[in-house]
Every structure is written in structure tokens, then in C-alpha cells.
């Protein structure tokens, strides 16, 4: 997974909120701490999550080194270590930690990572689908009929019918699980495609048409995947008789 980029702790490469230390007004060129007065500096509110964790804008991430970097930065920013400092420093520590936590957890999860990249590169994460994508249409339609039959059988307390439709739903679930796996494989391919182009041309404007093509494909796929996941979530909830988990 590691693309050979340097993820070690370079404390000089981060853009900060200002170029001047909030405390002693001496020049700060991207360190976490002012070189003069050693006060913690606020991370820029506009800083993106990749930059925050010192990573290039690639989708393949070595989770072990991501975690190491996160732990390292947590030790630098966590409010526990600013308890005896001034109010301003405590506020900065709180803000930096909150940003760091969100950045880490977004990048750690491949789906959230891809959605975040879309937001950065193309303005928005994904479209919310209200109808099934074309290639899933038939299956979803069939599933809905099966769900309906299962629900009416179980509300009529017909044990035999219920069991029969349950078996059908379990088969549907198997098919949809396979569909999701296929999507994940395709997504992994798009990740590699993006990383190849991006590594070749890290400047935002370079190879823009190619980048936009990958992003477009990725957005489509993520929207379909989200749709599928929510259908699957409802299906599992119906089978287990509980309320649906609100995740995704």
C-alpha cells in the first residue's frame, strides 16, 4: 500500500493559520510551535485533511503509518498537555485536536476518504440517489416485492410463508452482497487510477481532464454504493426485526 512517500514527522511542512505567531508576533513558517516563544500555533481552518496529516492527496494510504502520524500529532496537540497553559493555548489545542481527530477518522476509512477527496477536488462528495441505478433496477424491484411479501406474511403470522420468504430474502441479500463486493473491487481500481495520475501530476491544474474523468466515475460509483448500502441496511433490519442503523 505504501507508495514510497515520506510520512515521517516533518514538523516544518504544515501551513498554519497565520505567518505570525499569535503570541510574540515573530515569523512562523509552518511549525506547530513558534520558534521564538514556543507557543502552540493554530492549524489553519482551511487546511485539508491530507495536509493536516502530512500526506499527499492519494487514495492508497498505509493505515499503520497514518495511525503513527495521528498518535504523534495527538501528543503534540491534545488538551491534556495544555492544562496548565493559558486560555488561548488551551483553545488552540482544542481546535487543533478537533480538526486532527476529524481528519484522521475521515482518511482512515476508504469510503469516507474517497468522498472527502471528491469534495476537495470536485466540490461535493456524491449525489443522493432516490431511485436505483440502471444496472441494479431489476434486482431492487424484485427485492421490494420479496420484502413486501415477507412483511405481509409475518404480519399475518403465517410461519410457513414467513420462513419461505425469509429464505428468499436471504438469497437476495447474498446477491446484493456480491454486488457490493464487485463495486468495491471497481472502486479499488479507480483508487489506483487516481493515484497514478496524481503522482505523475500533483499540481492541481495538471492533467485536469484525466483527473476529472476518474472523479466523475468515482462519484457515480460512490452514489450507487451508498444507495446499495442503505437498501442492504433496510434488508438486514427487516430480517433482524430491529430498526435500521443510521450509519451511511
Amino acid at each position: 500500500m505504501d507508495h514510497g512517500h515520506d510520512t515521517t514527522n516533518k514538523r516544518t511542512e504544515l501551513p498554519m493559520a497565520r505567518s505570525m505567531c499569535w503570541h510574540c508576533q515573530s515569523e512562523v513558517t509552518g511549525e506547530y510551535y513558534c520558534g521564538q516563544c514556543v507557543k502552540v500555533q493554530p492549524l489553519s481552518k482551511e487546511m485539508d485533511y491530507f495536509t493536516c496529516l502530512g500526506l499527499p492527496r492519494l487514495l492508497a494510504i498505509d493505515t499503520a503509518s497514518l495511525e503513527a502520524k495521528y498518535y504523534d500529532l495527538s501528543r503534540a496537540f491534545h488538551p491534556d498537555f495544555f492544562q496548565r497553559k493559558t486560555d488561548t493555548e488551551q483553545q488552540i489545542s482544542l481546535g487543533n485536536s478537533a480538526l486532527l481527530n476529524t481528519a484522521y477518522h475521515t482518511l482512515k476509512d476508504p469510503i469516507q476518504r474517497a468522498e472527502y477527496l471528491l469534495k476537495l477536488e470536485a466540490g461535493s462528495a456524491k449525489d443522493i440517489r432516490n431511485s436505483p441505478p440502471a444496472d441494479l433496477f431489476e434486482e431492487i424491484l424484485e427485492l421490494q416485492e420479496d420484502l413486501e411479501a415477507f412483511r405481509s406474511a409475518s404480519s399475518a403470522r403465517d410461519a410457513n410463508e414467513t420462513a419461505q420468504h425469509r429464505t428468499k430474502l436471504l438469497a437476495d441479500r447474498g446477491h446484493l452482497d456480491q454486488r457490493q463486493q464487485a463495486m468495491d473491487t471497481k472502486l479499488a481500481g479507480l483508487f489506483t487510477k487516481w493515484d497514478t495520475i496524481q503522482s505523475r501530476a500533483p499540481q492541481p491544474d495538471a492533467l485536469r481532464p484525466q483527473k476529472d474523468d476518474v472523479l466523475k466515475e468515482m462519484r457515480e460509483l460512490l452514489s450507487n454504493r451508498t444507495y446499495l448500502c442503505s437498501i442492504l441496511g433496510d434488508l438486514v433490519a427487516t430480517l433482524e426485526g430491529g430498526y435500521a442503523d443510521r450509519r451511511h
Partner: protein, 568 residues
Amino acid sequence: MRIVGIDLGTTNSLIAYMDGKTPRVIAGRGGRAMVPSVVAMTDNGLIVGDPAKEHLVRNPARTVYSVKRFMGKGLADVADELKYFPYTLSEQGGVIRIKVGEKTYSPPQISAMILKELKQRAEAVLHEDISKAVITVPAYFNDSQRQATKDAGMIAGLDVVRIINEPTAASLAYGLQQRTQGTIAVYDLGGGTFDISILKLKDGIFEVLSTNGNTHLGGDDFDHVLAEVILKDVRAKHGLSLEKYDEAMQAVRLEAERTKIRLSDEQTATAVIELPDATGTYRKDFSRDQLEALTVELVERTLGPCRQALKDAGLQPSDIHEVVLVGGSTRMPLVRRRVQELFGKAPHSELNPDEVVALGAAVQAGILSGDTQDMLLLDVTPLSMGIETMGGVMSTLVRRNTTIPSSAKEMFTTYVDGQTGVDIHILQGERELVKDNRSLARFRLKMPPLPAGVPRIEVTFLIDANGILNVTARDMRTSQSQSIEVKPSYGLSDEEVEQMIGDSFKFAAEDITARKLIEARLDGGALIAATEKSLTQGGHLIAVDEIAAIRAALAALAAARDGPRPHG
């Protein structure tokens, strides 16, 4: 400045400190570290802990116990468990009020009395003023319950520098001791609450992956199940409804607890209760099997949260390297068995399950005072937080199990020309509908009177390292920050807390006198016992008239000890 660690428990509370690199609990005069979380308002003043526990049966209407179950709650939240509480409860401003004698107290005020007792205990042993503390709360405590705990600290004259979760505190003490690396599950069944936390321990970082629990499930509930059996049996055998007798109800509750505890070590135990109105003595034998059959459903209720926590962490039971037991209720063999079955491995209990939370709080206190940077706790928020949107639906801003500190931003605008404000309702919980979640607070966002949609106010919801929500707002057009008055749904207002701090100082002098009297009585008792012992062992060595003089002095001391409270 020293920071102490406090475990403010439902049944017992403890205080601990860092002695160099070792956390230690502070024992009281009797050598016991646990202070029963019981407060009695006697004619001789306020008493806390072991002596107060004696008043539970003698003076139930003026003795408050398990107050933690009321923290951050409204009356409706506790309606179904009032049977055993002999004091009168009411509600004011969304906060439960407890009527004891002529006075009325909020739960944070009662908790503050326990905190003060602990504080004084630490001051006596450490010979310094204690003004800063880390206080632990159940991981599954919501924002209101955390805030109430912080208020209790303030009323007790303590700066609560951090609220930390009990299972995570335990993991700090455990990790320090065992030098564990890997994924651990902390199963914490206390007197009133249950928590499960799953953590990853690596190179001194304690990262909580998920947490779950039930703030209304603990040892008290096991006691109540046994007590129900006794009450029913007494009614059948003696035609006596003990519900009418406050004293007898407390006796039954305490005897149920004692029987339960004995059954952790023995196969059988007998509950003995003196019945009121000279009806006689009631006895009932219980076997461990019986207790387990009666309480198996309660233990099962802890397993659902365990499975959910595993699921949220994306783990299987086999991924857990070690299971750590915390809380006195984990001494029950049934609990140990079921936990072992779920995780497929024998749980650890090397550290005293009663003390490990306080020890962990002291470790965290050490980290906060800058003594060590080796360890760092990364905890999560147990419940999702969000705001009410159109149609009574909750829109989640910070999902449960998000690492804290965490923040979310939301932009607000107006729908009508010249609209001057927007009402915002903050919620906590996992359900879709507002009505199924917990109301945390409300506030009104001021809007500049402009055409609809023009104002842009950015609100930042920040959950700090205590798991407590802070709200700030900024007008994006002017970059001016806006002060917000957040009105808690179930909490004391700032003014009320101020008032209570004032009251607490006012009564402090009175309390000190009462306290000195209790200590003098205890010292007197100890002196009498020691002298009696010496007389028995070596009485033959001294002259008869000397013995007579000693006996006279002993009698005078005993009379003074048992006498009324002196005036002035």
C-alpha cells in the same frame, strides 16, 4: 498544584493521588478507602460515608443514597424506581430536588457533600489544600449528567479540570500496571450503571474505539430483585406489607445487598430481617443458583451493549486480547461466566475492581499536572449529538463513538424577511425522531434583520475532552462572534450553581463543627477500646486504685461520647 482523582460512585466513592509514579487511594480513619456515597442530615449536622450509612435504617427519610442515579435527570426519568427511596422528590427547572427534613437539595449538592468529605480526607493525609480534581463518570453518561457532575465539583469548591469515563480510567490504571499492548474490553458493572469500552493500547496511547452501556443498570437492580422476593415472602408469611415502613424497606434493601455479596463466595446465605411492630425475626435462605436464576435477565442486559460496542469498533469477540472487569458487581460469578462466554476468554481482575477507577483518575490527574507525557487517553463521545430539523427529525452532527475533542459546523440563515432569530434545539441519542432522543439544551440564535436568506451565522458545536458540549456562533458577514446563552433542558443554571456554592460556604462552618464532633466521638471510641484491651491484658500489673481511676475516666469519656451535641 496537585490534582487528585475521584471516583464518585453510586454506592461508594474514593479519592486517589499520584505518589511519584504510583497511583494510591487514600484511606480514611478506619483504614477503609471506600466512602459509602451516603449523606445523612442529622440533628447534629451533616454526616457522610460509613457513619451516614448507619442512618439508612434508623433515619431513612433524612439519609440520601444512590444520588448518582438522579444526576442530570428529570423526575419522569426515575419514576419507576422510586419505591425504595424514602425521601420526597420534586422537580424544578428540569432538575430533581430532594426534600430532606425542611431543606431541599439538588443532586449535585448532595454529590458535593460526598466530594467535600473526600477532599477533606485527602487534605488530612496529604497536608495541603486540595482544589483541583479529575472526576470519573460512567462512559455512557450524557451531556446533562456530565455537567451535573461538574457542577457538584464546583459546589464542593473543586475545580474539575477533567471529567473522564470510568472504564477508560480503569484502563489507564490497568495499562500502567500490566504494560499491556493490544485491544482490550473493559466491562464495568457498578452500583448503578453499566459501561463497556473497547480500547486499543499502543505505545502509551489509549485509544477508545467504541463505548456503550446503560446508565440505569447496576448492583442496585440486583438488590431490588432479591428485595422483591423478600417483600413478597413477608407478605405471604406474615401478612405484612413492608412498603409502608421506610425503616423496614431500607433494612430489606441492605440485607438483600449483603446476601447478594455473600453469595459471591458461598453457595448459600440467609437473609435476616427484624420485622416492624414486634412481629419477630424473618429469615430466608437463598442459594447461589436461586440468585442467578433471579438475576440472569439483568446480566443478559449487559451483553447487548457489549455486542453493539464490538460491532461499532468493527471487531469480533476473538479480536479482543484481554477483558478487564471493573466495579464491585463483577464479583458475581454469574457475571464472570457470561462475560467469559461472550468474549471466549477468562476476564482479568488483578486490580481491585473497587479501586481501579479511582487509581486511573489519579493517573489522568498526573498527566494533566504535567508529571508524565508517556500516556495519552483518546476517548470518544458515547452518544450522537445533533439538532432538531423540520418535521421533528434529528439531524446528527457528531456521531457516537467519535473521538473527542470533536467539532461540527452548521450554517444558519433566515426564511422570512427581517427575521431576528432562529431557535435551536440540541439533542443527544441514536433515534430518528426528536421525541425519542434526549433534549440537551435550547438557545436562540440572533439574526441581523435582513432579507430572508441573507444572514449567515455559522454555529460551531464542539465536544471538549470532557465530553461536554460547547456552542459558539459567528456572523459570517461581519466575522463577529455572537455570545450564546444555552439553556440546559436538565441542568442547573449558572446562577443556581453560584447560589449553591455560596450556600455551601455558609454551611461549611456548621459542617466543620459537626465533623469535629464525629471525629472526636470516633477517637473517643477508639481510645476506650484500646484502654479496655490494655486493662484486660495487663490490668494485673497496676494498682487497684489506679484501675478504678482509669475506669472512672473511661466512664466519663463514654458518657461524653454518647452525650448530646454541646452548644457553641
